[in-house]
Symmetry: D2
């Protein structure tokens, strides 16, 4: 058993009986049904070897993790023009804050807070039908994960569409500044559905490979983006990937990553590994409590922090 | 000539005639006198070899760069208890914003915005006399830079003490919440003076070595902090080191760094190099305009981004 | 000719050729078509005598002035329980600000900013159909104005429904805090339609009589509310009736009043008179520029300020 | 016994045993020593007849009530030019909020929040020595109260000077925008001292006569300001006189008034009466809890609301 496999197994064992697991997200009713004891961890190294433990193959709602993939798609379509519609600074605010939008005329701070991801979704939508845009996003994720079985959980999407008033508010508020171009309902329809994509840790760790390796190894990694773009997306994950817990994640874990309120976190070690962890309980900032702890231990034991080992 | 030396020379040559150099800080009258054409760049690699070009030996006012060293000192004294007085999240606001303090009961977001650095300075001050605390800070910087000639520019300190009303406001405001413990005048006296430390790029690049190498090479790097602490300070520099331009710096440069309104930026490449650059003109966020551009080019040409090369 | 008639005629003459008339509201496309030169002024004294001049009988879109009548209706239904859903303090913000809602958990500051009026509309809606609630509001206004010809301008309502993204955002945002109980579309439908009621100055001055005289004179004033409630609504108009220009209006005019972005202002002199003025051009706070000036002159010449004459 | 005397006696009797008296201000140590059971009420009618009950002659710290008199003085010196340095809108914020200052470049919202009163004090100070400015303010108050025994409680002033960090922050923050012209220490010295003026309810009710009667009765009221200026100061007291409880006070009491954290409230009935009440316990907004209740009852029983009786 490799060191990596040993460490992954250790961590999953340590997490099994942790008493403090955080709170499962309840604002989307469908998400509240998840088993709070679920835990999965998958790491794929540069050679493509997979270390997996726990609930590594159970699909869960990736939620905000989808924002990394929609950002990648939108940068592919628009390049740097995308930054006219969304900033790239940490917001210092909660994932659903609307305050900053008022002070900055409807331009969201970054593509990883809800408002920013809605603006990015609107860019992808362009003049197309929601169905087409959504198909494009799903196919892209199947492509980067090399797995055609990835699907959208329509129940979760419908649940959020019925109850996501905060996001409806954000989208309409941006529309009032002209930052959203399409019909708000279209944009939100696509947004709620791509957040409702279900993936397992194994699929997510596969999907993150282009960010960890940016096409340098054609036998295992599909060409997706230029190295420079991958670096930049990684930088955004590091500074903005965990809402108002981004500084904390950088401080404790030291890896670019993106969390979702479904309890998943996707992270990468540049040139070395892609990682997905899943534990549904969240901390006060909306990030997986045990997911962060597991990554902190993984990063430390593998000496993977990008800030020095 | 090594590749590094060639790149450093190239960049300094490229910067010489850049027409858009930003605006020299004018809110501290003494700083406004600096020559806007000055430019220096020094890089020290893991073996201790120095690549220097431009005004590499001209002392300039390090201003907020001193916050990295006071944070290091305070963490040495208080360990994680320090985080009861200051947070570690990006603020999403300007360096001198007071808004966040009101909403968060006087606890500054991070140690690199002005309010946070004042709180850290107050922690260092403890019950001591300002003179003692200041001496300790100065000696620490002389130690990490291995250079006893580093000094405090009293004119700059006096200039800021006469005109630094925004900082006086921040300190008193925190005092009203009990976050500042000592007499406000003492704390500010020490703060203004350590911001007024004058260093050259060469001295600054030397002083940053403990963050780049954390004591792994005893022949060249003095033992200062544990590797873990160095990583964490680096993480804070990455997420918070450039005020509301921190995301931009991470995106473009991809290195942990800290800027000062004197036009200096100190940065590190974990395990590889420490860097100091100086160009007095600032951008709208208060960061050296050409300093950032130079680091962007250096990071790219040397393939040093921590987000993948 | 009475002194009042003389003063009213004088003022209308003075306003005719004022060069600086403000900007006609353009954010609701249908409102932008109004003639910026239109001007009307009607005052009805305690005996019911009417002094009218200018475009006194041209219907215009009352917009936010309807908020006074929906507040009256809602207080009649819920009494002081209404104040659990909306505050009664000046907001210090623009009419459409969403910032305060985030800091105060979705409870709007007062019933005269947009968010507050939407919350009041939702209370009136209760479990009813929009059509019923709207019918009740319209009949109430026809009753207090003693005029069955008052109508809803469906074009204006439709125009706002298509473009009122800021208000849709406010309603959904409050819904996300549970402050809006009904379906957001229902509440907004009723809101947009009661704002689209069209009235002339004459009708509006009639409708305001219950606030000026609170049923003390049964021959001319219909019993509507208790004297205490009338006083309280008047107090709210004084402190909150002109958005972030409320202090200015109190300072210059010294009368309780409510403005709308259609350019109308309704005001009362307790025990003495009810007033309506209309001039479509708005100042930076969204209040009729000449309407305010006319009321300032009227209040001064008639010695009507409630702050001393 | 007149109706007014009867009502005043009744109210004082009712207040004597009220169990919920609010909290005595503790942030100024010297104020915390006051007897929470103290209660005084004095009303002076248009003929100069005095109705007094309770602790009518005990001096207390008038604190923010002094802001009305410094505003009067400053308007006398600068006229409408004063409004370049301070606004006249309700702030929607607490008395000591600093947030609005950042968003509005150091210009305080109105002269009755702390920041605004400090800016007004700075205007009065002009280039003079603090002692002169303070003498001028004290003499003005002795003049309007027709009582030379009014004095400054130096202990209270010293207590606030030692502990008033929030106000020191506000002043320095405005200074950083150039809104404060003199040395901050001078301005704050004068400010802390005029807030520390001690007056009894009787003296305060006398001092308020110029606002209630603006010089119309030369036998009893000293000429102080023009009727128009009195009206405008009254309007400001109505909209801004009780911090973020101003709307509530207008709604419940319906009179222009100004409160202080010493527990006093000064109020006026235009053309009819001047009033002072004192009860040290404060509500959450920093206004005298029983003082407001007493005024609500007084206004109701005497039918004095300016919003209709």
């Amino acid at each position: 058993m490799s060191k990596l496999e040993t460490v992954v197994n250790e961590i999953v064992a340590e997490m099994r009986d942790m008493p403090q697991r955080g709170e499962v997200a309840s604002y989307i009713p469908e998400l509240a049904r998840v088993d709070p004891k679920a835990f999965g961890l998958v790491v794929i190294d540069a050679e493509g070897k997979v270390a997996a433990a726990g609930d590594a193959d159970t699909p869960f709602s990736i939620q905000s993790i989808s924002k990394v993939f929609t950002l990648t798609l939108a940068l592919g379509k628009f390049g740097d023009r995308l930054w006219q519609r969304v900033g790239r600074e940490p917001s210092g605010s909660r994932f659903n804050s609307i305050v900053q939008l008022e002070y900055e005329k409807g331009i969201p701070r970054n593509p990883f807070i809800n408002a920013g991801a809605i603006a990015v979704t609107d860019a992808i939508l362009g003049g197309h039908q929601p169905r087409e845009a959504l198909g494009e996003i799903l196919r892209f994720m199947q492509y980067v994960a090399a797995d055609d079985t990835i699907y959208i959980d329509d129940k979760v999407a419908a649940s959020e569409q019925r109850t996501g008033f905060g996001n409806i508010a954000l989208a309409n508020y941006m529309k009032s500044f002209g930052v959203i171009e399409g019909p708000v309902d279209y944009t939100l329809g696509v947004y709620f559905h791509h957040c409702a994509i279900a993936m397992s840790c194994r699929q997510l760790a596969m999907a993150a490979r282009y960010l960890a390796h940016f096409g340098n190894d054609p036998t295992t990694v599909l060409p997706v983006v230029t190295p420079e773009r991958a670096r930049r997306i990684n930088a955004l994950m590091l500074t903005c990937g965990h809402y108002d817990g981004s500084g904390e994640f950088a401080y404790r874990v030291g890896l670019p990553g993106k969390s979702g309120v479904g309890g998943g976190i996707m992270a990468i070690v540049p040139g070395k590994a892609s990682i997905a962890v899943w534990s549904p309980g969240l901390d006060a900032s909306g990030n997986s409590q045990l997911g962060q702890l597991a990554l902190e231990r993984l990063s430390k034991r593998m000496e993977w922090s990008i800030f020095g080992a």
